[in-house]
């Protein structure tokens, strides 16, 4: 069953990718969607087994690399953590496959698109089912590659290509840390297999490494390096710059890769490695801190963006920050829970925005929209469900997971935890404002598009709406139904068992009541507030914008990260490249090397030529000189 689950998407990639031309668009769409859907059903069965029977399995498919003491297998590991990921990945993926049939209906390269989606699914599955760090890395780079393909899917657009390369290269910076982490793990423990590594951790707590004269705890170092990898993939601050640009890809891609699955791989990594991270309080604090900053930073940027997809992208970035700080305060199960619910409502929001964009004929600027809620009733309702779930409106899925994060941060009881609570609550407010801004500007107010007549607006086809409805159901109820399982008091014993390690048992206390009620209240109150701000009285935002020009520019330019990186990294790299090429290779090595030698020879041969003047008296004179010199020499000796 596990094998089928893993290899069906690969098969559908091969069929659609290599034979798509021969079997036609329709058939490749059906085959890929069907195969991935079967995978999704299998994943649900496995998930059920894990819930009811505590099923675990570790299938070894084949040996991959063995070199000296390094032994790596291709494997499928099933436990609670990977089962959750399997469900998320295959379910969202199959819905996105189906949705794409409608969304990409005007595209000329449908089989290629479906093939990439399937390949991505396969890579993501190898990532989550790995039983060792190297296969994880394989999947890690594999999803990065598919993300590269899919962002650059419209290869004629220069900006899409640039975004694709940026995504890959920035991820490689993260992978650089990740790879070093793997090397260090192998160096210390002689293996890259999870179980074997995790077993050895408690004996190596005080292992010190000397590094540039600094004494570093090796566990801290491993965790930091792995976390750098996670930061790259999950677009945490400093390595987040690729995610907004990645919106150049088709919208289903953004929903699948840049919201529900790939970007959560970093969170998955931290949760998967909880047996290591639990022993590094230092790194956990860093994670909390980074998560916090990212959540806040991305929310502020999302407030002012005008591209519908970029708003949601920053929102994803921000929510990933929440997941990280949940993991940072040791509430790995809550992080997984938020990952799970987030997958539903964020995919819903992306696909919903895709439906809007589709209706507006590829318009993405929310200033060019508005007033179409009657024209797109289903999309409108579904987007509202997604927004409510995202903002944490009571009893929807985001409510259970996001509030749990804030509560657990409080219960952690240390400084980092308290900071996290403050930032978490404030960010929840920002989240709700920018989310409602998006809804109101897109669907309400006046119709602002000059290019299209409002009468041409029409609802998306059923094939796009059905996936949305399924996701909406998830967004509505996933939180309520699964909260006991994921974050209930006995979940760590009953559901997660060995897959997550909690060094300190999770606190069973209740946080004070004001914490529990505070966030939902703000979230609910911010709806009329946003309505007033963005529909009723639009002068206030404009006034704010004009009054605080520097702040506004700072936000709209995304805190100037791109400019900064260009200045610090990109330009100097190019300069060094040119310097080494033009100055060192050509002006130094060649000049004094081969060219120098040949010039030298030319020079001497020219001189020698001058001696051959043809005048006998010169020859005689030189002979005489030579003869006398020789004679002198002989006499002196």
């Amino acid at each position: 069953m596990e094998l089928a689950l893993l290899f069906l998407p690969l098969t559908s990639f091969i069929i659609s990718g290599f034979f798509g031309k021969y079997i036609g668009d329709r058939l490749s769409e059906i085959i890929t969607s069907l195969f991935v859907s079967i995978s999704a059903v299998l994943a649900l069965i496995i998930f059920y087994e894990v819930i009811t029977k505590g099923y675990t399995n570790n299938v070894v498919i084949a040996s991959w690399i063995h070199s000296g003491s390094l032994n790596v297998n291709w494997s499928i590991k099933v436990d609670a953590v990977s089962a959750v990921m399997l469900v998320v990945v295959t379910l969202i993926s199959s819905l996105v496959h189906i949705y794409s049939i409608g969304y990409m209906s005007h595209d000329a390269h449908k089989p290629r698109f479906m093939a990439y989606l399937s390949l991505f699914t396969f890579a993501m599955l190898t990532l989550v089912t790995s039983d060792n760090f190297l296969q994880l890395f394989f999947g890690w780079e594999g999803v990065g590659l598919c993300s590269y393909f899919l962002i650059g899917f419209w290869y004629k657009k220069d900006s899409a290509n640039a975004a694709a390369i940026k995504a890959f290269v920035v991820n490689r910076v993260g992978d650089f840390g990740f790879a070093l982490g793997i090397f260090l793990i192998f160096y210390l423990f002689g293996t890259v297999n999870y179980n074997e590594v995790f077993q050895q951790i408690p004996q190596n707590l005080n292992n010190k490494l000397t590094f540039f004269g600094l004494q570093l705890n090796s566990i801290d170092l491993i965790c930091m390096l792995l976390f750098i990898g996670a930061m790259g993939k999950s677009a945490q601050i400093l390595l987040h710059t690729w995610l907004p640009d990645a919106m150049e890809g088709p919208t289903p891609v953004s929903a699948l890769i840049h919201a529900a699955t790939m970007v959560t791989a970093g969170v998955f990594l931290v949760v998967r490695c909880s047996p290591i991270f639990e022993y590094s309080q230092f790194t956990l604090n860093i994670i909390t801190f980074v998560g916090m900053i990212t959540a806040f930073f991305a929310a502020t940027v999302a407030l002012v963006q005008n591209d519908i997809k970029k708003i949601i992208a920053y929102s994803t970035c921000s929510q990933l920050g929440y997941m990280f700080f949940a993991a940072g305060v040791g509430a790995y199960n809550v992080a997984m829970f938020h990952l799970f619910t987030h997958a539903f409502f964020k995919a819903l929001l992306f696909l919903g925005s895709g439906s809007v964009i589709h209706s507006f004929k590829d318009e993405q600027d929310i200033n060019q929209m508005g007033g179409v809620w009657k024209k797109l009733p289903y999309t409108w309702v579904l987007m509202i469900i997604g927004t409510l779930a995202l903002t944490g409106f009571p009893f929807l899925s985001g409510f259970y997971s996001k509030d749990a994060i804030i509560e657990y941060a409080y219960l952690r009881g240390n400084t980092a935890g308290y900071y996290a609570v403050t930032v978490g609550i404030f960010t929840a407010l920002l989240t709700s404002i920018y989310s409602w801004r998006l809804i109101f500007k897109t669907f309400h107010g006046d119709y602002n598009n000059n290019k299209l007549k409002i009468d041409t607006m029409h609802e998306s086809p059923l094939v796009m709406l059905i996936p949305l409805i399924v996701l909406a159901i998830g967004a509505l109820f996933a939180g309520y139904f699964f909260k006991e399982l994921f974050i209930g008091y006995s979940s760590s014993n009953y559901f997660w068992t060995d897959s997550i390690k909690f060094l300190l048992p999770l606190s069973l206390d209740h946080p004070p009541l004001w914490i529990i009620y505070f966030t939902p209240v703000i979230v609910v109150l911010s709806i009329p507030f946003s309505y007033y701000l963005f529909v009723k009285n639009k002068n206030i935002p404009n006034w704010l914008k004009n009054e605080n020009k520097p702040l506004y520019n700072f936000l709209i330019n995304k805190w100037y990260f791109d400019e900064l990186y260009d200045y610090i990294f990109v330009k100097p790299s190019k300069k060094i490249g040119i310097f080494f090429w033009k100055n060192i290779d050509i002006k130094f090595i060649d000049k004094f090397g081969p060219d120098g030698i040949s010039n030298l020879i030319k020079f001497f041969s020219n001189k020698a030529v001058k001696f051959q003047s043809g005048f006998i008296y010169q020859y005689a004179f030189i002979m005489l000189l030579g003869f006398s010199a020789l004679l002198t020499y002989l006499i002196l000796i």
Partner: protein, 504 residues
């Protein structure tokens, strides 16, 4: 095993080239027939080497299939034999040769006969290098290989062919002379040039450093290591496609092989002493040459510079002297042989169609050459070392090995992996993606059958070994274990001896 299988591998291409020599060169029909002769010989040679791999026993570390004949009485023996390391390089050579012969379509417009002879002679010399077990024989094969390459660049090259050919020759000659002196010195010290005997005898410690440097000067140029790499971009740019393929895939591997077989094997103490030098030069190659590659505007130059960076990984891995590092280096060399050959072929394919190597004259190729775009993508991915390609296995094992010796070295070298992604993807983007603007490109055809055959023959092993490198690793494992054991033994003797001296 009495049948001289190695000698027949060496001689067969020579016999083939003799046949070609006697083909009349007046009509186009004969042109074709000489190509068929060359193809036939090289394919037969490939199958023999596959058979050899099948016969090869990878459970013993001794040299196998040894042939030992007296050549100059009491001085030089014709001694050949292989171990797990050599056989892979022999396979690479016999595999690349027929492919490079098929790739000659219209790119060689004159003197095809002579070109084919040059290629075949080079094949036989290269095989000779990889199986010779006598220093003099090795030297003859090693330097002999220069001549056909020199001719290929100088006769069939582009506009600056003479400059490039001489640059190539000057650089390589410099190292060769020193190596010859070193070989004579070894004979003078030990009285033999037989590698197996030398392994057992060992070379006096006090001579090792100088001898190592002499060998190094030759190998460093051929690798090529920074700063003696500048001949490579010029040679590649001017060489015809088949020549570039041969140069990148096989000639560059001679030095890596030489480092493993001779520098490590004969001069372990010196190798240990000079390891920091190798690390520094390798790191410069990996980091700075990658950046140089990033800035190139000529496709062939870009790939040539990327070869320098990739070979930087190889030299780094060899001198980590760990099982992973050495195995990684060998796999990286094999992988680079396949991938760089394919990349040069890809450039050649475009060049044949448009006669431009400048990146800026392309863009949007995917719309007219989709098959080409797919294959080029596979090799691009292999060049950036993506997991699932052979490039990853090599780079990963090398870095893993390097990490065990030095955190910093591994960290800096890993930067190269980031840059590789940048320059390869940027190249791919500028050539393949975007809008088709250049009007000359509108009519160029996609890959023809023979091109598809060549490129996929290279792509399939690249992917296969990425997912399943066992066949390669199994072949070299024992030989490398043995090598490392011998090396460590030598070092510990040396340490013991020096320790005694200190006590006295």
């Amino acid at each position: 095993m009495n049948f001289p299988i190695l000698s027949s591998l060496i001689l067969l291409p020579l016999v083939g080239s003799l046949f070609i020599l006697f083909v009349k060169s007046d009509s186009s029909n004969n042109y074709q027939s000489s190509k068929y002769v060359a193809l036939f010989t090289s394919f037969v040679n490939f199958f023999i080497s596959i058979y050899l791999w099948y016969l090869f026993d990878n459970t013993i570390s001794e040299f196998q299939f040894i042939e030992d004949k007296e050549w100059l009485r009491g001085f030089v023996n014709y001694k050949v034999g292989i171990d797990g390391i050599s056989i892979l390089f022999i396979l690479l050579t016999t595999f690349i040769t027929p492919l490079s012969i098929i790739s000659i379509n219209n790119s060689i417009s004159f003197r095809l006969k002579e070109f084919l002879i040059a290629i075949l002679v080079m094949e036989s010399l290269m095989i000779g290098v990889f199986c010779s077990l006598d220093l003099i024989i090795f030297y003859l094969f090693f330097e002999g290989g220069l001549i056909p390459m020199f001719l290929i660049i100088g006769i069939w090259g582009g506009t600056r062919r003479v400059y490039s050919a001489f640059k190539f020759f000057l650089f390589t000659l410099l190292g060769s002379v020193l190596m010859l002196v070193a070989i004579i010195t070894i004979y003078w010290i030990t009285g033999t040039t037989d590698v197996v005997q030398l392994y057992e005898l060992g070379i006096d410690w006090k001579y090792q450093n100088l001898l190592w440097l002499a060998f190094f000067s030759s190998f460093a140029v051929k690798t090529p290591m920074w700063p003696v790499h500048t001949w490579l971009p010029d040679a590649h740019v001017e060489a015809p496609t088949a020549g570039s393929v041969f140069l990148a895939a096989i000639l560059l591997k001679l030095a890596g092989y030489g480092f493993i077989r001779f520098s490590l094997g004969l001069f372990p103490i010196a190798s240990d002493f000079f390891t920091p030098l190798i690390y520094s030069l390798s790191l410069i190659a990996i980091v700075f040459i990658s950046l140089v590659a990033l800035m190139q505007d000529d496709m062939k130059k870009l790939i040539a510079y990327s070869s320098v960076a990739h070979m930087g990984f190889v030299t780094l891995g060899i001198f980590t002297l760990t099982q992973q590092g050495l195995e990684g280096s060998i796999i990286q060399m094999i992988s680079h042989g396949l991938v760089s050959a394919a990349l040069f072929l890809c450039v050649g394919i475009l060049y044949d169609r448009t006669h431009s190597r400048l990146i800026s004259s392309y863009g949007g190729i995917v719309s007219i050459m989709p098959k080409y775009a797919v294959v080029l993508m596979i090799f691009t991915l292999a060049a950036i070392g993506l997991p699932g390609t052979s490039g990853f296995i090599g780079e990963f094992l090398i870095l893993l090995g390097a990490f065990q010796k030095s955190f910093i070295v591994a960290a800096i070298a890993s930067l190269g992996v980031i840059f590789a992604a940048a320059y390869m993807f940027w190249l791919y983007k500028r050539v393949v993606f975007g809008n088709l603007i250049n009007k000359e490109l509108f009519k160029i055809p996609d890959l023809n059958r023979s091109e598809i055959f060549i490129l996929w023959s290279l792509a399939i092993p690249t992917l296969f070994f990425g997912f399943y490198p066992e066949p390669l690793i199994n072949t070299i494992e024992i030989s490398i274990q043995d090598l490392i054991q011998m090396y460590d033994l030598n070092l510990s003797f040396y340490a013991e001896f020096n320790g005694d001296n200190l006590i006295k």
